[in-house]
Subunit: 190 residues, 4 copies
């Protein structure tokens, strides 16, 4: 019961964060190609963040599926994750409107890093609540992607002040890594 | 379980895309008939897009009803469809604010075309997952409307640069084609 | 199944229409009493529309509870109702920002009237689908409130151009009539 | 059935109120540290209100879980609570944009106070509907936090006009009091 309502609430928050991002794509007052072209950085950020949030929803859904019971610490760890996801519309807009300038690119990385940490904390809370022989721990396994992602986010934050395109390339790389089905990438990494 | 949550998440995204479109109907600062009349192109686009999204929700709901199990490829095909639907508030606002100017009318057609393709891909993924004797394949049948719509969208994109009203008339025609109950139109097309 | 998803989708659209209305309460840049006082017409419209939408949700929920199966005509009658409810944020903002000026007050009445008609159409579709001995027809009974409301909306539209306060008083009266529990008002009207 | 739909609708409204608050964090046009620093008061208010709404969702969920049946008075008491929660985006934006100026700080306290009262009224309606031996009354117990919070809100409203930081500190204190798991704080208060 509690789990169902936690899922419903999380779905709603994630769906809203995903969908109101489109409001950062300000409608131009001008029907020209120039006006459309000027939107590409915001559109690119929109696509990137859409993919990130979709990945989070996807993984969140599998993780909660494996959870048995929800206690207070899981509830709050979940709220903590939703908090960082709720900041995506803001950092996406800031990144796009400023053509991937160093500081917005670094702040974007900071929010993705914090979301990754929040996700990890939530995962650990669920595993702890399941005790030894946790179903979720088995599913997660060595969690190669989960361990690499934060490292790449930290690198992207640093590179933002050196060359913004390296930073953006790293965000794209992490998204692709999660989009490609699991087994293939994990076996390649072994 | 997975199917239930996929439906809930899709419902939320579609409902939000539908409802935040009204924010493009900017409240005039002036309580005059002139101010109200000036809104008609945005209002018209709003009605058109409302009908489009309602049709997508309706069809999406029947399609998922016929699906048995959800795998990763169906999940991502669904996300891809939601992505194009999430752009409706943007193209609706741009189309209306610029009185159906050629470029916004063509971009509107591009987004409807991409949504139609995404819908088709999702349908094929579900049919493939059901194997031979797929329930959904039977339901879809010859899919006359699904095959005609993209052709009309492409035509509308082209006509946008010739005569915008032909383009708008085509969008209205596709919407009406989907609104009219199935059997009648299919028998007329045979 | 279909009914559950129709309810979920309707809930989402109604909840969003209700909640994004608050965005019409523009945050003043000034922390003064004068700035707060200047907001009262928008705040008043907000409260009025909040109550209207809450009443619609409440009645919609009872009506669908009494429905047995959902066919295409019910689905579209429901979408038609959601369309008019989705316009509440717009008319609420326009009414409030222009201090209940005649035209916005009349347009507000037009949207409430159309929502009432859409609600009635949906009700009739469900009753028709249930055939003789319809559970919903019994629940609805003589439907005194449902018959009086549109008359009062039409009156309010007319009075908007004579004296705006009569118009606003009528909107408040209809809301109160629906808020007061049924039996009392119905027995008074007999 | 009614309870499930009431929960779903409440979840949607609470999730939207929570998530659209981020729209008050206006995206700066400037990618500088100065622009980011200038946002701290709005960001701080955002975090504070996020925690408040999360606490309300959490408690609301436990309270409805303990409810047996939903009557009209519970439905409207719930709508009344949602009304005050829906004002959080407004008061949060006003508080942050004006650097915690006295009047916005007091109005923030007023809305939190009204939400607390609405929550209490809803709780009493559910307890009354359960009659003697109410499960919810047992769960609520002496309700120490529920009784202290309104007193602190009233104090914060008063202090807003003396020293804004005392007022803000009180809002933070109430949030922390609710975040810390129950038993610890209750035993300390005895």
């Amino acid at each position: 019961m509690t789990k169902g309502r936690l899922e419903a609430f999380s779905d709603a928050v994630i769906a809203i964060a995903l969908t109101i991002m489109v409001l950062e794509l300000k409608v131009p007052h001008d029907p020209s190609w120039a006006a459309l072209r000027a939107l590409w950085p915001v559109f690119f950020s929109y696509v990137l963040s859409f993919v990130y949030i979709a990945i989070y929803w996807n993984n969140h859904h599998h993780m909660l599926h494996a959870a048995d019971r929800i206690d207070g610490s899981i509830l709050w760890a979940n709220m903590h994750l939703l908090f960082w996801l709720s900041l995506f519309p803001f950092v996406t807009g800031w990144l796009g409107e400023n053509h991937f300038a160093p500081l917005p690119a670094a702040v974007y990385g900071f929010v993705t890093l914090m979301a990754a940490i929040a996700y990890y904390v939530l995962q650990q809370r669920i595993i702890a609540s399941q005790g030894p022989g946790s179903r979720l721990r088995e599913m997660v396994g060595r969690d190669v992607k989960g361990r690499i992602s934060p490292v790449l986010y930290v690198a992207a934050i640093g590179f933002a002040f050196v060359n913004r395109w390296i930073s953006i390339a790293l965000y794209v790389a992490v998204a692709l890594m999660w989009l490609i089905p699991d087994r293939r990438i994990e076996s390649r990494l072994r």
